[in-house]
């Protein structure tokens, strides 16, 4: 689950990370008021679950409270389209009003999970404010790493190594180690999946501040992160994906094509997308029905697919394990009978209870394209459109 910048900063500040003076506003009036409270020049920052907000016009400087109100008026209600949002963009319902800072240096700091090491890793670089993946690819020596060993927890010497490595010596050394330790603690205690402060800035008046912040929580840990769960902003999630969530389907992602897919298992679902592509088509979505073992769950999933105006054909590709193919078959029959998937429908069943599943389809009398292998199924779905 993603947090907004202002939420990430609130969380980090609770752990002692210094952030710029700022407050959140949902109306131009509140924005002007917040700017007046801060005094001097402020930055008005669109709050939406995407980076690259500046380029999209979502971040602007205001030199007065009045101007802050005017800018907030422009930004609030925007649909922010960036290279990370897809063409539909994301709505902006709030703006963060922050003191404008005079920047001396910009640094990079983040925490992520390193699956190979099976540990979180703190990543730091003197090259902040830039595309860190680019830096990592071009100049790997510019990237510092410290792992958090669960046997001991993050240690002071690691924070010091990073602080010295970032060139934060002298009076900045202690604030820097403290900031890094606070970030690590926030990540561990919040079940973070990614926490990024980019940039950490050294201001001209010698302060160290988290100028921007991203924080994502491990979706699997939300059950024990109730207070963070309350910060969820559903306006930042695609409508269809929310619908899928409400139907209990965790893994639904809207894509740009026109073949709606219902598959079990993430690997098979990805491969189905690959097979569709190889057959010359494009999937309208990724949907992993998982082990959902009731016809109702299948019907809910197919309703989401069937009502997607982009979908011109439906492909059901199931290899039963824990999921039983007869239950899936029943769900498809029910959805067809309820008119939820009027589109041409290709179905391929294999695995557990496949005979029972196929028998149900045989008996249903419904017009369904049946496929044996899943490459054939993908081809059939593409053919059904063209």
């Amino acid at each position: 689950m993603k947090l907004h910048e202002y939420q990430a900063k609130e969380l980090l500040a609770e752990y002692g990370v210094p952030v710029p003076a700022g407050s959140i506003a949902t109306t131009p009036e509140e924005a002007a008021e917040a700017a007046a409270g801060i005094g001097g020049a402020v930055v008005v920052k669109a709050q939406a679950h995407t980076g690259a907000r500046g380029k999209a016009g979502g971040v602007k400087v205001a030199n007065s409270a009045e101007e802050a109100g005017t800018i907030a008026q422009e930004i609030l209600g925007m649909n922010l389209v960036t290279n990370q949002t897809g063409p539909s963009g994301l709505p902006v319902n709030s703006v963060l009003i922050e003191e404008a800072i005079e920047i001396d240096r910009e640094l990079y700091l983040s925490v992520a999970i390193d699956g190979s090491a099976a540990m979180p890793v703190i990543i730091a670089s003197q090259e902040g404010g830039m595309d860190i993946e680019e830096v990592a690819a071009q100049r790997p020596e510019a990237i510092l790493r410290e792992y958090i060993d669960p046997a001991a927890g993050f240690q002071g010497f690691q924070a010091r190594a990073l602080a010295f490595g970032l060139g934060l010596t002298g009076d900045l050394n202690r604030p820097a180690t403290s900031l890094i330790e606070s970030l690590a603690k926030a990540f561990m205690e919040s079940d973070g999946s990614i926490a990024e402060i980019n940039p950490v800035v050294v201001t001209k008046d010698g302060r160290l501040l988290a100028a921007d912040a991203k924080f994502s929580i491990d979706d699997s840990a939300m059950f024990r992160q109730k207070s963070l769960d309350e910060k969820r902003d559903r306006t930042q999630e695609a409508e269809k994906e929310l619908e899928a969530q409400d139907a209990g389907i965790q893994n639904y992602i809207k894509l740009d094509g026109n073949i709606g897919c219902l598959v079990n298992g993430a690997g098979l679902a990805m491969s189905t997308l690959d097979a569709i592509k190889m057959a010359g088509g494009d999937a309208a979505n990724f949907l992993d029905i998982g082990t959902a073992n009731s016809p109702e769950a299948v019907v809910s999933a197919l309703r989401i697919i069937g009502t997607d105006p982009d979908v011109e054909a439906v492909l059901v590709n199931i290899f039963g394990g824990l999921a039983r193919t007869d239950i899936i078959a029943q769900g498809v029959i029910d959805a067809k009978n309820q008119g939820l998937i009027p589109q041409p429908t290709v179905i391929r069943l294999a695995g557990s209870n496949v005979n029972e599943g196929n028998e149900l389809l045989d008996k249903s009398g419904l017009e369904l394209v049946r496929a044996d292998g899943f490459a054939q199924a993908a081809q059939a779905a593409v053919d059904a459109i063209s």
């Binding site: 690997g267 679902a269 491969s271």
Partner: protein, 293 residues
Amino acid sequence: MSLLLDENSKVVIQGFGSAGQREAIICRDYGTSVVAGVTPGKGGQEIEGFPIRNTVQEAVDEFNANVSLIFVPAPFAADAILEAVGAQIPVIICITENIPVLDMMRVKRVLTTSDSILIGPNCPGVINVGAHARAGIMPVDVYTEGNVGVISRSGTLVYEAVDQLTKVGVGQSGSIGVGGDPIIGTNQAQALALLEDDPNTAAVVLIGEIGGTAEQEAAEFIKTMSKPVVAFIAGATAPPGRRMGHAGAIIAGAAGTAEAKQSALREAGAHVVENPGDIGSTMLNVLKNQGLA
């Protein structure tokens, strides 16, 4: 136990709810010795003919359980794995998905000083076809006995690969589903090492996914292998930056792309399949060319 299970495997099932019970029955019907279920508080009961115990240790003490198959719900699954480790179960297979990543980090740290092997979590389990030993959730009727081993991060793609192999007349020694989570007990390279050592396995199908660097690590091991490997990477057409079910599938840097993985595997000598429908036929050709089929 190169294939982790054999005729002497005695399986205890942790989390004996509906899925656990159903799979226990399928395992037993397949010919596997399922000796007990563990559900705290239900110790002493018998369910579907299986004795239930409160702790894994009791199942070890009473029934010599040496394999644990875990269906415990995600919030308690790490505790269940550690219970099996504490009872010194040599092979622990965790089916549960959505275990918090930081829980698995702690489990892995404990495993660094344990002799237990963990498979999964978020995996379909392990099957040894010749030994009729199944500790997992895979459909059994797609398997036929033979000499190809299958390794995969994705469960359903194990079944898919096995099904294709069976349909082209190539039997399997077994399969190991290593699991789709960012932190797993046994990675692809380690699973390859098990099959390289397995006398009943002559060739290996390796199914990877976009994200992470596990396939590159596997490629390094493939360079040292005597047995041919057919490999497929799922997600070649996935849009970058979206999480598609498996957290491991987040494309993080160039190493995570299908192209990078395919090329590492090709360089290591693996036969890389681009179309997921071609796994079975490619393996058949490889076996024929090497005089193995």
